[in-house]
Structure formats: structure tokens, C-alpha cells
């Protein structure tokens, strides 16, 4: 199931004094099973873009096709689209509202009109996927949980819809390093084991570098780069010019190159730069 975006434009507060052209002629295709990292400065349009992916907002012009269905078409069943494309907002734990963990996760499936047994299966499965112990936690109040656990409950609520595509807007924002590791680990497993297509918006280049197979960079409402992490993170100058970082391993590779060391282009992982430094130490890598 692919998502095709054609010449998408979006304008906030159209016609008013604060009119903002948030997306300019964005065209791209997200293929089934991809892991896409979406990066960009605040205000670059990345959150606006992801809200189009399941029809939360409608294009000013252009089209979004999910599994061949046009989201702007009045005939399209939006509910069916939202089952296929699950969207996890920023700070999703702010949207928890039910009395218990189980009820909160079951809310979506219940609205789909599924029977009790199927709902129960989905709740248990979703909790397993986010590493929450069903027996220990299902009847607890969500508000008794830690911040990291609350976020996992919110993600489980989206997973219980069994979407083919999971879109996450800054899933690790505000978490401590351990909480961040947990969330990134479960997203990685979902992608690898269940084959779920993942679109992850992130400010952390290191998180994107460690997970994504494809990186899309947005700036001023346009897609300005689209490629493998290797290709994108090789453009350190351009990224910095857009207010973005590159992973520290890529920064180090660049600075060593400037000092005359023969480090190949496209290095962005710690393990890769470690191997290069070990090679330099073994044979002396500085070009005359």
C-alpha cells in the first residue's frame, strides 16, 4: 500500500493577515514497507504534511492518494483511510482520557464496531508490541503511569487499529534517554517484524540516522532533499544552513577530511567512523 502525494499545497488562515503558505507543490511517493525519516526546522511544513497523510487536513490544491484512494474525493471513506494510516501526534499522552489503560487502547477498535473477542485480542497484541504487561497494567488508570508508559499507551491505541502505515510526529519529544530508547526500539521492531510502513518526524538526526532508510528534508514548505541517510547527511553545509544538525559522526568525518585524512564520503554512523579511525591508526591515513 503506497501513499502518493501530487503537487500538494496548503495555506493556513487563508485570506487573513497571518496567511501562511505551509506547503508548496510537494510531490512524493511513500512505498509499502519503507521507513522514512522526515526532518526540517520548526515551521518547515513537516507536521502539516503528515496531517495530510490520513486526511486530517485537506489540500488547498493537489492530491493525496492512499492505496489508490483520493482523500479529497467526497466518495472516499475517511474512516477506512484512518484505519490504514495511523497518526501518533506530538505528546500523544495528552489525549489519553479513559478510566483504564485497556479502555483507552480499546477506544478505536470499539468505534470500528468490532466484537468483544477481537477488541480484546487487539488490545493485548498492541500492549505486547509496546512492551506493556497486560496483566499488570490493563485495569490501571493511565494517570498513574510514568511519562514513558503513558506515551506507549497512546501509541498502543493507534496500533490497535492495525494500520499499515504508522506516522509519528516527534515520538520521543520530552522523554529521558531510557524512555527514548524504548520508543525507538518498539518502532524499529514494528517495522522489522510486522513490516509496518513508518514515517517518523524527528528533530534528532541521531535517531533518524539510526533507524530510517530514507530521509526527506523539508524547508519553507518544500521538499529540498530526499535520499538515503548517507546521501542526505553528506550535505552538512546545506543542512546547517536550514537550521538542522548532522549526526556527530558525520561532523567528525567532515572535519577529519578538512585536516587531510582520506575519509570516504557518506559516513554518518559512529561504528563507521570508528572503523575509519582504526584504519588511520593502523596505516596512517593522512594524504600528503
Amino acid at each position: 500500500m503506497s501513499i502518493v502525494i501530487e503537487h500538494l499545497n496548503y495555506i493556513y488562515m487563508s485570506g487573513g493577515p497571518y496567511e501562511t503558505h505551509a506547503l508548496h507543490d510537494v510531490s512524493l511517493t511513500i512505498e509499502d514497507g519503507e521507513f522514512v525519516g522526515l526532518i526540517g526546522h520548526t515551521g518547515s511544513g513537516k507536521s502539516t504534511l503528515v496531517q495530510h497523510l490520513n486526511g486530517l487536513i485537506m489540500p488547498a490544491s493537489g492530491r493525496v492518494l492512499v492505496d489508490g484512494m483520493d482523500l479529497s474525493d467526497k466518495q472516499t471513506d475517511r474512516r477506512a483511510i484512518r484505519q490504514k494510516v495511523g497518526l501518533v501526534f506530538q505528546y500523544p499522552e495528552n489525549q489519553l482520557f479513559e478510566e483504564t489503560v485497556e479502555k483507552d487502547i480499546a477506544f478505536g477498535p470499539k468505534n470500528l464496531g468490532l466484537n468483544e473477542a477481537e477488541i480484546d485480542r487487539r488490545v493485548r497484541d498492541a500492549m505486547r508490541r509496546v512492551a506493556l504487561d497486560y496483566d499488570a497494567l490493563h485495569d490501571r488508570s493511565v494517570f498513574e503511569l510514568s511519562g514513558g508508559q503513558m506515551r506507549r499507551v497512546a501509541i498502543a491505541g493507534v496500533l490497535a487499529m492495525e494500520p499499515r502505515v504508522l506516522v509519528l510526529d516527534e515520538p520521543c519529544a520530552g522523554l529521558d534517554p531510557r524512555g527514548r530508547e524504548e520508543i525507538l526500539g518498539l518502532i524499529r521492531d514494528l517495522h522489522r517484524e510486522a513490516g509496518t510502513t513508518v514515517v517518523m518526524v524527528s528533530h534528532s538526526m541521531d535517531d533518524v540516522a539510526s533507524l530510517a532508510e530514507r530521509v526527506i528534508v523539508m524547508n519553507h514548505g518544500e521538499v529540498v532533499m530526499d535520499g538515503t541517510p548517507r546521501d542526505v547527511f553528506a550535505c552538512g553545509e546545506e543542512l546547517r544552513g536550514m537550521g538542522l544538525d548532522v549526526p556527530q559522526a558525520a561532523q567528525l568525518a567532515q572535519k577529519l577530511r578538512e585536516r587531510g585524512f582520506g575519509i570516504p564520503q557518506g559516513i554518518y554512523r559512529i561504528e563507521e567512523i570508528r572503523a575509519e579511525i582504526a584504519r588511520i591508526a593502523a596505516q596512517g591515513g593522512r594524504h600528503a
Partner: protein, 282 residues
């Protein structure tokens, strides 16, 4: 050391939340020196935010004492004085702005403290200038970015002419450029105005720029020292649920591979120097 050289002194400090069984802060003794930039790290629930709230009398100690510029936070009559000496900036930029115009928000604390109008005007202008927000004085806060809102919050604290600014995960909800804005502002105030800073953060890269780092765990101080001393203990830092800066991790990987690099490298530039040294010693 003389008392006036310490801005905050905590002595055998404990705090238990109402109805809780565990100590959120458990026997902490520490100090914040005049002009010092102190970072407090720790995973969620380690007690670091509770500690911050004890530092400006938002919480009163269950046991032990906190002195802020010599004032005992257990004394109710001193609360307003204490908060003037030690101002706090919180995590969510949208939860701490109260006025509909930027400069009125900065004036809020001053008006409540009965500062004369003429003096208020001077202090607002100074405070907004210090955070580089003068051109936004008449703007509506909701039109600002997260980093700009946090700088307005810092200006509100600065207008009170504090000795210490406490930032409780104030960069957690900001994007990288917003974080850089806040960190640059705080470092400049520390350097140029001599204001002590207590920075509570999850970002190891921010803690790496501090003079001194404290790592909290289970309500206790688990590790402390300069950033170099703390982060070079990679295994210990990881066991406490924290990251180490990527370059420190790389240095440790190289060392375990038998290479003679320093174990306390923090930044990319330091690593460049280490690699140059390695290659020239061959």
C-alpha cells in the same frame, strides 16, 4: 568557604510527596556557587525536578535545609525574597506566559512585587535586551516560536534581578534552533552578568557545557564532577539510565580496540585533535 560565595546550599535535604512511601529526594547535600553553571541530570523519577522545586521554595523540605542566598526556604515569610533571588523557568513554553503582550508578561512579577512604574520600564527594557527580544516587546506571545517564548520567560525572571536562574527542562520541548537560542542566552547571562545557573536537562550535550554536573538517581546524588569526570565513566552513566555524548562513546570504543585516545573526549573538535595526535605518533 564563606556563605556569600554560595548561592544555594542544601544540607541533608529530603522530600517526600504527600501520600508517597518513597523519598523523592533522599539526603542530598550540595551547593551552587556564585557564578557557577551547574547541570543536573537523571532519568525520569530520579528526583531532579523535585530538587529544583526545593531550590525556590515551591516545595518545603520534609527534612534538612535549603538556603538560597542565606535565606532558609522553610521560613514562609521569606518565600517572595527567595523567588526573587532564585527564578525558575519551566518546561512548557505555553504554560508560563500569562499576559497578552510580551512586555506585560515580563512586567508581571515586578508589578506583583510593588516595583515603581519607572523602575519597571527600565527593567523590562534591560531584560528583553538581555535575551535579544526587544523587537518583540509589543507582540502577542502566541505568535512567537517556542524558543522565543522561553526567552520571554527568562526575561521575566531576569527582570527580578535574580542571583540564580533555575531551568527545569526548559529546552525539552524546543527544536534544535530553539534549544540553541535558550542555551546561548543562558550561557551569556552566566558569563557576562555572573548569574548562577542550575540547568536540569535530558540533553547530555547541554550538560557537557556546564562547569559541574550532578547525576541524580533514586533521590540521591549518584555521580558528580566536571562533565569530563562524569561522562568518562561511560558504563556507570549508562547504568543510571543516561546517554554519554557520542564522541565520548566513540573514544571508549577506540580505547577498547587498543588505541591510545583520551577517555574523556566530549566534543567533535577534541576528537579531531586526538585523531591528529594518533596519526602523527605513528
Amino acid at each position: 568557604m564563606k556563605q556569600e560565595e554560595n548561592r544555594i546550599v542544601a544540607s541533608d535535604l529530603t522530600y517526600v510527596y504527600p501520600d508517597a512511601h518513597k523519598h523523592a529526594v533522599d539526603g542530598v547535600s550540595m551547593r551552587v556557587r556564585s557564578g557557577e553553571f551547574l547541570a543536573i541530570l537523571g532519568h525520569n523519577g530520579s528526583g531532579k525536578s523535585t530538587l529544583a522545586k526545593l531550590f525556590n521554595a515551591l516545595y518545603v523540605p520534609t527534612g534538612g535545609t535549603v538556603w538560597v542566598c542565606g535565606l532558609d526556604t522553610r521560613n514562609d515569610d521569606l518565600v517572595f525574597d527567595i523567588r526573587q533571588h532564585a527564578g525558575m523557568v519551566f518546561q512548557n513554553p505555553d504554560n508560563q506566559i500569562v499576559a497578552t503582550v510580551v512586555e506585560e508578561d515580563v512586567a508581571f512579577g515586578l508589578e506583583n512585587n510593588g516595583v515603581p512604574p519607572k523602575e519597571i520600564r527600565v527593567r523590562i527594557d534591560e531584560a528583553l535586551r538581555a535575551v535579544n527580544m526587544s523587537q518583540y516587546a509589543q507582540k502577542a506571545p502566541h505568535m512567537l516560536s517556542g524558543g522565543q517564548k522561553q526567552r520571554v520567560a527568562i526575561a521575566g525572571v531576569l527582570a527580578m534581578k535574580p542571583d540564580v536562574i533555575i531551568l527545569d527542562e526548559s529546552t525539552a520541548m524546543l527544536d534544535p534552533s530553539g534549544r540553541a537560542e535558550v542555551m546561548n542566552t543562558v550561557h551569556r547571562l552566566n558569563r557576562e552578568e555572573g548569574i548562577s545557573v542550575v540547568l536540569i536537562t535530558h540533553y547530555m550535550s547541554e550538560a557537557a557545557t556546564a562547569d559541574y554536573v550532578i547525576v541524580m538517581d533514586e533521590g540521591k546524588v549518584a555521580l558528580s564532577g566536571t562533565p569530563r569526570e562524569v561522562f568518562s565513566q561511560v558504563e556507570r552513566v549508562r547504568a543510571l539510565g543516561l546517554d554519554v555524548p557520542p564522541m565520548t562513546e566513540l573514544a571508549q570504543m577506540l580505547r577498547s580496540g587498543g588505541l591510545d585516545v583520551r577517555g574523556d573526549v566530549l566534543t567533535v573538535d577534541e576528537m579531531v585533535e586526538e585523531v591528529c595526535r594518533l596519526s602523527s605518533s605513528i
